[in-house]
């Protein structure tokens, strides 16, 4: 359980400032992103945990990150009403950053 919490905190710490710099300037936008992360991060970790005994961890990580990227893009689009292009851009940048940090930390 602690691992899930730690992963969420780390994701929030990385993604919120990045999102601020690339376009989510308003408080409610950051609040929305915070809850989007609360929605996707533990869920994806749970899915990864479930499949970890059956599928290679690298494959799971890449698949999970792709899934998060797509889901978060659509959530940004639907919740905040950003253009689909902008939503995908923001989601891509923040997830790429947090994924990279995760990879570096695991090395």
């Amino acid at each position: 359980m602690n691992n899930y919490f730690l992963a969420l905190i780390l994701t929030q710490t990385i993604e919120l400032p990045i999102a601020y710099f690339i376009g989510l300037k308003k408080r409610y936008e950051l609040l929305a992103l915070f809850f989007i992360n609360c929605f996707t991060n533990p869920l994806i970790n749970l899915i990864a945990d479930i499949f970890s005994s059956k599928i290679n961890w690298t494959i799971i990580s890449i698949f999970a990150e792709l899934l998060v990227f797509i889901v978060e893009s659509f959530l940004l689009y639907f919740i905040l009403g950003k253009s689909i292009k902008k939503s995908f851009f923001i989601s891509f940048v923040i997830n790429l950053t947090s994924f990279s940090v995760g990879v570096i930390l695991n090395l």
Partner: protein
């Protein structure tokens, strides 16, 4: 918008039911999680593993002068369940735990393998099994094969719930004696049935609350836009 809600709730429901299904499969197969619980009931498992002798029976006979400490059947049974996990599944069939009193039968058994006398081999195995003091790991005794090659190291794991000291290296020495040595390795932590279930529930609740908050934010934004 309804479609979006449907997608969101499907996303929410999927991992929960998947987790449930997964746990049920694990329960049904009585494999990993059950064994882990059994192993956890042995407080001094490490001590036991280091103190008692394990034999690797192959085409060559095991040494007759090795002493084996006798364990009570209940402990033997518990250890065997743990060792099923340790040995994985590919090598377990020829790893046995024997009590001292059965040395004659072991010799008879190993000789029968040397002589390629299948009837003798099965008879000896049956007697050993009936005596209750020999434990076969994983496969049934009939799957014992004289053609099995000796693997020098096996990677075996202890199914407890900790990261460190979670794995054992099992080395087979020249006398076919198995030696367990503790080692640390990259271990994937397995949660117990109960804690996995708790995690799944907590995660789903968190995600559910998050999505409710997001919907509230969206509604407020829509209101603002309309005004």
């Amino acid at each position: 918008m309804k479609k979006v809600y449907l997608i969101i709730f499907t996303l929410l429901a999927f991992p929960f039911f998947q987790a449930k299904a997964d746990l049920l499969i694990e329960k049904d197969s009585s494999k990993y999680y059950y064994q882990k619980e059994v192993c956890n009931t042995i407080n001094n498992l490490d001590e036991l593993l280091n103190s008692y002798n394990f034999y690797y029976i192959n085409s060559s006979p095991i040494s007759s002068n090795v002493s084996v400490k006798k364990l009570d059947n209940s402990t033997l049974s518990k250890i065997s369940k743990c060792l099923e996990v340790y040995t994985g599944g590919n090598y377990g069939s020829d790893l046995v735990l024997v009590s001292k009193k059965d040395n004659d039968l072991i010799t008879k058994y190993t000789n029968s393998i040397k002589e390629q006398n299948k009837n003798e081999q099965f008879a000896a195995l049956s007697k050993l099994k009936d005596s209750g003091s020999i434990i076969y790991l994983n496969k049934s005794p009939l799957e014992f094969s004289s053609e099995l090659s000796v693997d020098k190291t096996l990677f075996a794991k202890q199914p407890d719930n900790t990261y460190e000291n979670n794995y054992y290296n099992l080395t087979i020495d020249v006398n076919n004696k198995a030696i367990f040595t503790k080692t640390s390795g990259s271990v994937v932590k397995k949660e117990s049935n109960k804690s996995m279930e708790n995690i799944a529930i907590t995660v789903v609740i968190t995600s559910f609350i998050s999505i409710i908050v997001l919907l509230v934010i969206q509604r407020k934004l829509n209101k603002k836009v309309n005004e």
